[in-house]
Amino acid sequence: MPPRDIAHDAQLAAALARCAQGDRSALRVIYGLEADRMIGIAMRIVRRRDLAEDAVHEAFLRVWRSARTFDAARGTPRQWLYTIARNCALTLLRDESRFAATDDGGAPEPEQLSADDALTRLPETSRLRQCLDRLDLSKRKAVTLAYVHGLTHGEIAGRLSVPLGTAKSWTRRGLLSLQECMG
């Protein structure tokens, strides 16, 4: 990890420790460092600016309430924050679709999504990118659409125009190959 990232993570870990003690200014530090990226992560899932802000709003309240549960042994502070942002965005996305009695004003259809943007944004040196590049195009797309855009098996099937069973098996085989490659 580059020294700049280590310093960044140390700053975040310290701010989380201060949040756990009820220091609101520490939450502002985390917001300043990470809110922009968290909006970007949520945006790829909920696909609407207002919903992305709702997700990040909820994420920061969760960070505030559960800062003391952050465990550096389980991952970096950024992974912890991004996981919370993704989970809040996914919850919101599933809520939106489950409560969508009518089709007005919901998030854009998953059919409009492409996996390419997220793949090209990965740095050339990224092990994830190198291992994804080794997968068949269909498996690469399935895995990326699921993780980055929060698509369900059913939506992946629709997006790739294959039966549900095929979409499930592509994703699973893609995930297992990815694990084998990345170790």
């Binding site: 917001y31 922009d36 990226r37 909006i39 505030w64 991952g75 409560f99 990326t144 098996h153 699973r172």
Partner: protein, 239 residues
């Protein structure tokens, strides 16, 4: 070494691909099974480059203000008064007691009504204005009925026994405005009739959604449904 099934479960959990029942299993394992937790942590690390390379989008000061207001609202909830209400709201014994009191009050009401011999008027009051049949989406079996009365009272009556795993409870939600989002209106430990708390919400209307989800015993930790939807349905005007 974890089994292939567990490795896929962890990978699909991290990717957000699990169906609600598997999601509950994974969340439970995450707390109780260190090997599984390690598998999940490894998957989060593998995918982290995706998040690290997400495009930054200016979050702005307005959202920070909203978040800070939210943390202050949290803080006021810790003060004695409101927190006791929250504890009560989340407490199953309190819900039981409330139901028992409601049942007792209903009995008293029924008795006095009888004595008053206002049969006709009582008949009107007892007839719900709106009814919703809550149905299991997959099997299309009806699981419960919601009745909304003219006086603003709303009750839920189960039509079938609902399997509630240890440490879980049934939470009842309503959605009348998508801009506001779903609101919790009740928490029960098992399928039983209950008066729902819609006191602070707008009067129940037509096409209002009610649903029952499976949540942790003290209710959803985030104020929105997190568990699988067991039954849902919308209100229609009763004839």
């Amino acid at each position: 070494m974890t089994s292939e099934r567990d490795r896929i479960l962890a990978a699909e959990f991290v990717s957000g691909l699990l169906d609600p029942a598997e999601q509950i299993e994974a969340e439970r394992r995450l707390v109780s099974d260190p090997d599984f937790a390690q598998e999940v942590a490894a998957w989060r690390a593998r995918f982290s480059d995706f998040d690290d390379s997400a495009q930054e989008m200016s979050a702005g000061p307005a959202l920070l203000q909203r978040i800070e207001d939210g943390t202050l609202a949290d803080a006021t909830a810790v003060e004695p008064g409101p927190s006791q209400w929250r504890a009560l709201w989340n407490s199953l014994p309190a819900w039981r007691a409330a139901t028992a009191i409601a049942a007792a009050l209903t009995a008293v009401f029924a008795l006095t009504s009888l004595i008053a011999v206002q049969f006709a008027r009582e008949e009107i009051a007892r007839k719900p204005i709106y009814v919703a049949i809550l149905v299991d989406d997959a099997t299309k079996n009806a699981g419960a009925v919601v009745n909304a009365f003219a006086d603003g009272r709303v009750e839920l009556i189960p039509l079938t026994d609902i399997n509630v795993p240890e440490g879980r409870a049934l939470e009842i939600w309503t959605l009348w405005d998508r801009a506001v989002g779903p609101r919790s209106v009740g928490l029960i430990d098992r399928a039983r009739s209950v008066t729902l708390n819609l006191r602070d919400l707008p009067k129940t209307g037509p096409d209002q959604l009610f649903e029952i989800t499976l949540e942790p015993a003290s209710g959803s930790p985030i104020g929105r449904p997190t568990g699988p939807i067991l039954y849902k349905g919308t209100t229609s005007r009763a004839l």
